[in-house]
Symmetry: C2
Subunit: 354 residues, 2 copies
Amino acid sequence: FVATVRPMAEATLAVIGGDGIGPEVTAEAVKVIEAVTGPGVFDRVDYDLGATRWQRTGEVLPDSVMAELDTADAILLGAVGAAPGATDVPSGLLERGLLLKLRFAFDHYVNLRPSKLYPGSVSPLADPGEIDFVVVREGTEGLYCGNGGVVRAGTPNEIATEVSVNTALGVERVVRDAFARAVARRGKLTLVHKHNVLVNAGGLWRRIFEQVAAEFPGVQTDYLHVDAATIFLATDPSRFDVIVTDNLFGDIITDLAAAVTGGIGLACSGNVNPEGTHPSMFEPVHGSAPDIAGRQIADPTAAILSGALLLEHLGRSAEAEEINKAVIADLADRRPGTTRRTAEVGDAIAAAVG
Amino acid sequence: FVATVRPMAEATLAVIGGDGIGPEVTAEAVKVIEAVTGPGVFDRVDYDLGATRWQRTGEVLPDSVMAELDTADAILLGAVGAAPGATDVPSGLLERGLLLKLRFAFDHYVNLRPSKLYPGSVSPLADPGEIDFVVVREGTEGLYCGNGGVVRAGTPNEIATEVSVNTALGVERVVRDAFARAVARRGKLTLVHKHNVLVNAGGLWRRIFEQVAAEFPGVQTDYLHVDAATIFLATDPSRFDVIVTDNLFGDIITDLAAAVTGGIGLACSGNVNPEGTHPSMFEPVHGSAPDIAGRQIADPTAAILSGALLLEHLGRSAEAEEINKAVIADLADRRPGTTRRTAEVGDAIAAAVG
Ligand SMILES: CC(C)[C@H](C(=O)O)[C@@H](O)C(=O)O
Ligand SMILES: CC(C)[C@H](C(=O)O)[C@@H](O)C(=O)O
């Protein structure tokens, strides 16, 4: 027989479209990635995971799939989450069983969420100023551990607990990462916590933050309680350069940050394992938006920018930069009131980088 | 001997000025309360509590003071919290030992935080719309319980935990209160939580919310994850009427709500014990702002509005309404760029209600 010899790809890209608008926006991110790298660079493997698969097969994330994903060089994820009406999907099933499972198993301790107000995107703030900061959200600890439980479930005497677990190891590694990023940026790092109430976790975060700060005398540091941080995000977001915070606070303030920089449709993120012991995973901050799914009206920009973060992580900085530039140009061209189909946005950006 | 017979006051008002700007703004709230009720209605007792007292005496809240406070009809609080430089005050000492101690001991399970954009106050949002909602924040449970601890403290292997405790009793009573408020307002109630991650606590909150909702068919309900709620607060705050949420989420979103309605200088709150088994306590949402303390530049409006909430709670609705009207008129008159001393603002509002 005659074998078709295909040049070996440089890297494996696992793609999990997920639910709702996830597959649509991910398709555009893949289109742009393949346009900028040219063909043959990535071996792409698509994984059918999410609410739809669970409803069909009862499987969330089989061990064999997990093992396969672990061999990828990077993962691109759309979004997971069933439609609100889907009462057959237990709350948290996909979050805990898929998204958080990957973040925890692959030790994605740096959840990287840049916030930048690009020309052409509209902030809800009257006077947003120049917004350009990055949130380093811890990704493997805190209230996201899944510790906690229920006593006397379903009775009038139910007690439900949630336990936030914070370790010196976990806090130190993410704080170090944040300091390094601050050095590479404008040299300012803000710790966000709530140490006046969460004295145990807050004490640990503060102590480690101060210890590591001593090694980075060039970085200007400050501290904000999470409640005060939301005020500054709404009134003076240009004050921030790098923010480091725990898993839950990071979840909350990055949605707010996305809102003030023109919306969740633009916010990208990376779940990064800096040592590369497992693949890192890149995803838009937005959810599966089941209400608009399948209609080609979702904005794929966040997914495309997540693709740029992915390339950057794999050391392909020039290509990442090309995507960012093309997105910035595309955003600047957008006219309020006009809309393009999801694929049209992807086509335009792919053409610009192709 | 000749006794001076003074008519008996109708109620006892305990006043805790506290730290930083607390005493200054509280003095104006007292001034306005006494102007609107006329003399002799309240027996006022001032309590010297807070960082300054602790630094002087080592006492945070002696049991005897606690017992006395418990006999008051209502408490007016300024703010507690030492200056950031005061390294002799351990983090959380005053919060846990004073503010939260009172909230918990006096069973202030309804932490009431109205948000209203008044004419004349400036929102950072370009298009804020008509903002008028109230957050019913749970006040006696969740991560504020003070459960948690530290293992191997101060070592590189430290583990710090925080436990969120949620009970059916605690959730149900605050949810009921929120439904009742929604009925008395525009009939809309939003539950804010994060049940896709905090499945134990979130499950309890959702189940009870749905159970109580069945008794209030006239109330339109919806649910938002806390991260999504911050987006709506920044992009469409007029969608809210009543929000009910847990202690920590309530802390975070009410600061954001204050920001979008013109700033923390205007946000009032009530720590309410609806059954009246202990006195309720009213305080501005802002903190002690040690950086501007003693300079008569703090805005006393939040404290004055908290005074109105206090009167309302004591059944003196007409007087509360008078204060609110005077504040609204005062706000409408304020000219951006001009400033008045703290006491001048109080004088103006006191004169208007006097
Ligand atoms: C879907 C959910 C579990 C997730 C989170 O809370 O981390 C999402 O909100 C995010 O920010 O990525
Ligand atoms: C001072 C602090 C303990 C308090 C809280 O977190 O409740 C404050 O932020 C508030 O909102 O009243």
